[in-house]
């Protein structure tokens, strides 16, 4: 299986790109899920983080997070697993991910617009 997503090295992380990747309710929920649960099967992230979307849409969100450097993905057999690049993120932007993971977030703001 080819995976053409380019995950940047930590020294190439861009704060703006990371903020933009996190500034989406579904992506933020996915990141907070893997932050709490460690490396997770991608399908499990979708299901347990309450992301009601197609697999293709989830892949799109995952790609944005990976290209920003927030998450990384590993293929094992036919399954993809993702985890937070916590050490890299902490080294480049100390405190950023902790503040976001631990934030008292009301995700009611993620309710779809009517």
């Amino acid at each position: 299986m080819t995976d053409e997503v380019l995950e940047p090295a930590a020294q190439d992380f861009q704060l703006l790109r990371i903020l933009a990747a996190l500034a989406d309710p579904h992506r933020l929920a996915a990141v907070r899920y893997v932050a709490r649960n460690g490396e997770s099967w991608c399908t499990q992230v979708m299901q347990e983080a309450g992301l009601a979307m197609t697999k293709s849409t989830f892949s799109h969100h995952l790609r944005i997070l990976r290209e920003a450097g927030v998450l990384t993905k590993r293929i094992q057999g036919t399954k993809g697993y993702t985890r937070l690049r916590k050490d890299d993120l902490d080294r480049r932007f100390p405190g950023l991910m902790d503040s976001i993971i631990e934030a008292d977030v009301s995700l009611s703001s993620s309710d779809p617009p009517t």
Copy 2:
């Protein structure tokens, strides 16, 4: 002078909205400028943070930051002054603004796309 921008109370801050407000190179530069310099005349922020844009465009960015709760604005005479809502932000999302203000940011990522 009427100012119809609604600045939320700290308990109504939404992490997603704050992240989205910060995920723009001009807005991030403005926020980092006032974080370093304290309350500043809006025109000064534009000029000294290197924001090459019309006053109207700057007002638009400032509005997004104010509606998210990142900045507040005060009118004195004919001049508007803005400052970071650091205490409110720290109370709601501890560590978030410090990590962003202190980040070793290469704003080269804000270069306009060619």
